[in-house]
Symmetry: C2
Amino acid sequence: MLSKSQIGFIKSLHQKKYRKAHGLFIVEGLKTLMEFFSSKYQIQSIYYLPQYQSLLPKLASNIKLFEVNNAELEKISTLQAPQGILALIAIPENHVIAPEALSAGFSLVLDGIQDPGNMGTIIRTADWFGFKHIICSTNTVEVFNPKTVQATMGSLARVDICYTSLPTYLQHLKIPVYAAMLDGENLYQVEWQQEGLVVLGNEGQGISDEVANLISSKITIPRIGAAESLNVSISAAIICAEISRNLYK
Amino acid sequence: MLSKSQIGFIKSLHQKKYRKAHGLFIVEGLKTLMEFFSSKYQIQSIYYLPQYQSLLPKLASNIKLFEVNNAELEKISTLQAPQGILALIAIPENHVIAPEALSAGFSLVLDGIQDPGNMGTIIRTADWFGFKHIICSTNTVEVFNPKTVQATMGSLARVDICYTSLPTYLQHLKIPVYAAMLDGENLYQVEWQQEGLVVLGNEGQGISDEVANLISSKITIPRIGAAESLNVSISAAIICAEISRNLYK
């Protein structure tokens, strides 16, 4: 049985300002939550329907457990169809990923992505292709938004993500900076290096001018049909796939 | 000035059962709407803020025009941030795409896609790569769902989409049926024919057994990292891109 104030507290975490104030975010669903158990993330508490108790792994003693009923879960869930289990996890401190960490392989740079679903899908795709780092501009959507967390399907637990001023970050890097733009070189004619960054811009505005100045190579996915553009998570995926095909062929 | 009953009527079209009953769907935003002007779709009426009047092209006289104010637009819009213009467009009759139409190039087959955003993104991506036809199982999400329509960014006006029983449709076709599955041949080792179908399955359940029996070739996007799966619109895009790279190289 949860108290009114517990319910109110968890519901407040649906909003960014309270996530920031309390340093906690929400993860729902057993499958997604399992990915966080053996990660760098610290699970603070778990709220579960009775039938989930036996499914929980042996837990560290500092994780608080609360059995809840359907009505309570519906109140605290961010989902239209709650998935039986919900956890509060500590938001790790934002750390700027060291440039040296980027020198093996490829990483993504997100310049003002706004849609939480796109953000989550990009993280999931990066994880599939083994891209371990994502550097985000400070105006990119918050990664702990519940829609983003759900769209990552647990990949958030594995991909290292930081927020920083991109112009400052990029200007001293020594690896190539590729960017998905509509007027670049044909994706299939790029001579990829063994490492690099791929910049993806805002859904409506594309890449900001300050960042565009720091790009070494613009790339374009060849268009055969008539659509004016591609969704940014789609562009990201096609480029990740092509880089991966080149690195591992 | 809209009457209460006009507002109620348009709001009813936010729901599938009323779209079906009245044979109308909603398109919002000038850019998306423009794509429908020179298409097979019939625009029935347009509701616009005063500043949009001068932006409208010369219209056929049978399109009804209604100037509205912000408060009215907010009531009838399906969006959190209405885009100044909203149109009602007739839902065309469902026609089964003739098998002969599929013999030039590639088409997509959607077997139970449920998420409206995924559906819309797949249509937009298909349009980018020049895939002109999409055949959907009868349990695939309705293409006139407002979220689907918005996610297509106007590509809905160009891509031909039908709903039909897939087992019946597929069993007499003579072109190869490829399918995105987790246990197939490496995408980059497939010997593509000059034409074919690509089947994409439901987000959680994958491809149904009846359809799986009719597949000529299973294909898998090679995984380098740790994510368990890819979002279905991402898989679709990576496969469309690879087919396109092979056809047009």
